[in-house]
Symmetry: C2
Subunit: 413 residues, 2 copies
């Protein structure tokens, strides 16, 4: 079945808002076997929304729109829906009661303006909104299903995942689709393809995609077919093949993050971690502590940005700094060792590099980065050569550091 996404809002067309809703919806629909044929972003204009909806339901069996369902004047999607489908608005007492209860729960009397949110197009069903006042609207006719969701990402996401996806999964005409994402890091796309592709023959209905980002390359396995058993078997067969050929680079699946996986490894092994960061300034600690529960294994860190801090707080030797410089293997080694001592953790990671745009030299150009790891058994460091963009270099350094630790814990050489 084909699907289309319509995202609504002037802020999308002036570039103020990056359209993350479209990507979230596209991923969810892809994962349940719908084929998204287009994403269309338009402004707050009744005529254009109406036209977009009309054309979309002719072309596609599933159409999802977001945005413009709020209570104020500039929220006009509902006007466009009733025009597109030639229906009237009908009052829903249960929706109003829910709305009133929602406001009462926050100790606020419901503003009169919100009453119009209980008006829905005739014949439409609705999906409740746990995080806001605008319910999702669903109109199903012969040949298509049209769904309108609020544009606030948290509200959209909740209704999509809790209501829309289960609803669409229940439709009978869907083909079975299985999507598995294997997440790799520490290897570039072309080398990964060299490992995987030479002997690979993909069966009918099976696709393999390489999706690079600065945290690594995701392998997306998509299998489509009519029989659920067969689809599942084909997907698992390819996953097993990928694990055989590239397993050491695969750190997780689907929504796993590298910082989450490393966190679980630390927690499961009852180990603690500290960090010391020069060029990344705190980003590695931020990533690690983005995982709820990270206080169970993350002790703390030292943002050793200036050489003074490296010498006085971290206690690396001044002689080493003079001889080798702060961006050196020697410094990364000393930083990691000293960090481990200072914080009394089982592991300590250090990052020192030339993030750019300035500060590069012939033997240490912008992007040159040293990452150290101290353990109970010793300390080692690795040199990386990243690119020329400051923020990208810093992000790549953090993921490289996490991967160094993952391989250490799992004893992957």
């Amino acid at each position: 079945m084909d699907a289309e996404i319509i995202t609504i809002g002037d802020e999308l067309l002036t570039g103020h808002t990056v359209d993350t809703n479209a990507a979230v919806i596209a991923e969810q629909l892809t994962n349940i076997g719908l084929s998204v044929r287009s994403i269309y972003s338009i402004g707050d204009s009744v005529e254009r929304i109406e036209e977009a909806i009309r054309q979309a339901v002719i072309r596609s069996q599933v159409v999802i729109a977001t945005g413009g369902l709020g209570p104020t004047d500039d929220d006009i999607t509902k006007k466009a829906i009733v025009k597109a489908f030639k229906r009237n608005l009908v009052f829903h007492e249960d929706v109003l009661d829910n709305l009133k209860a929602r406001f009462a729960g926050r100790g606020i009397k419901m503003p009169a303006i919100n009453q119009n949110q209980a008006l829905l197009p005739q014949g439409a069903t609705f999906f409740p909104n746990r995080n806001g006042s605008a319910v999702g609207i669903c109109i199903a006719e012969e040949g298509f299903i049209f769904i309108a969701l609020p544009g606030v990402p948290m509200e959209m996401n909740q209704i999509l995942v809790d209501e829309v996806v289960p609803h669409l999964k229940g439709l009978k005409t869907r083909r079975t689709v299985k999507v598995i994402k294997l997440r790799t890091t520490g290897i570039v796309e072309s080398k990964l393809a060299e490992l995987i592709a030479p002997d690979l023959k993909l069966a009918n209905g099976v696709r393999l995609g390489y999706l690079p980002s600065f945290s690594g390359v995701d392998l997306r396995v998509i299998v489509e077919g009519d029989e659920e058993e067969e689809v599942k078997d084909k997907a698992l067969e390819l996953v097993r093949y990928l694990e055989r050929t590239a397993g050491r680079y695969i750190y997780g699946r689907d929504s796993d993050s590298l910082e989450g996986v490393v966190g679980h490894l630390l927690a499961d092994n009852d180990r603690t971690l500290s960090v010391t960061e020069s060029c990344t300034g705190g980003q590695l600690g931020m990533l690690i502590t983005s995982v709820p529960g990270s206080s169970g294994y993350f002790v703390g860190g030292l943002q050793a940005y200036s050489n003074n801090v490296k010498v006085q707080q971290l206690k690396v030797s001044e002689e080493m700094l003079v001889e080798h410089g702060a961006v050196s293997e020697e410094c990364a080694l000393e930083m990691a060792e000293s960090c481990r001592k200072l914080f009394g953790s089982d592991y300590a990671l250090s990052i020192t590099g030339i993030a750019g745009p300035d500060g590069g030299s012939d033997d240490k150009p912008v992007g040159a980065t040293f990452i150290g790891l101290a353990t109970a058994h010793g300390v080692h460091a690795r040199r990386f050569s990243f690119g020329t963009d400051r923020q990208t270099n810093r992000s790549r350094a953090c993921y490289a550091a996490l991967e160094l630790l993952r391989r250490e814990i799992l004893d992957i050489k």
Copy 2:
């Protein structure tokens, strides 16, 4: 003049890639006075790309497409362009020479596959690409101008800013447009509107937009008209009014960032800064050091995540922690003071809070955050109540801390 954006790539329709290119292009076009009427994202299909281009150049005077200009088989945008405009591909020797020089500069012989990148549609002009091998393609006919750019964001962005925007600015039929973005922080949208709106009458052709994000609310002034002088005067008049009514919340303009503005203030006043972060885990340091040249004023920091680190490395008192807890005004005060001493900096910022999702209580629910600032004249702290989302809370805490310091340096009460 109307403009449309077409973004091309299967990865957009499976949700793997968030379409940041569309927002970047939309912002640039808006800033030079074009009105973006839609953004259309489609997959790697010659037929759909061809159809999208054909329809867009009928509706709009400026059409910009991105993606699918690489050298490999799945880069098919050029095929679609020649079909849409019924033209042949013509070999451009100068493009090939540039390509060869590009590869030679990297010490690599140009792969044969790249030769086809020197083929361009008949009558097209091209925009050079400083960061990659695919040039931008420009086809101008009576009534429209069509431009195709590569999809790699760094390449797209360079060609857009260096080539496309100046080219479009040179077109005669444009109305004059002036866009000024005033960046505020530390005040919510509705309160900002209360300060600004009561006495505000906007002149003809003048628009004012409120654009909230978690770092603050941007005020976007857009003035359109036929006379450059008049447009400029109207824009400045509104800017002056906004500065009069909301000036204390305005930290910068256009591409200014709060971390950049605070950095400049520190550098200009020859002052240094250190930070100590609990719930943000390093994000504040990361933000500060995202500014090139931050080593001139940022000394370093302590990621005091565990209470142990707070006591042993930061030297806050155990009694205070027992009595008030780590998330308290008392702790934020001691953290800031100790941090300033430890690093010997002029200013020190501290952040301690309950980022969530767990750990909240009745008097300190998730989102409760204390931020401290120590200076040569003393130390103070402020309590903030953010929301329920962990990452948003952490980001908001960092911007609130930077704003605290900005007001301190500028003596804004």
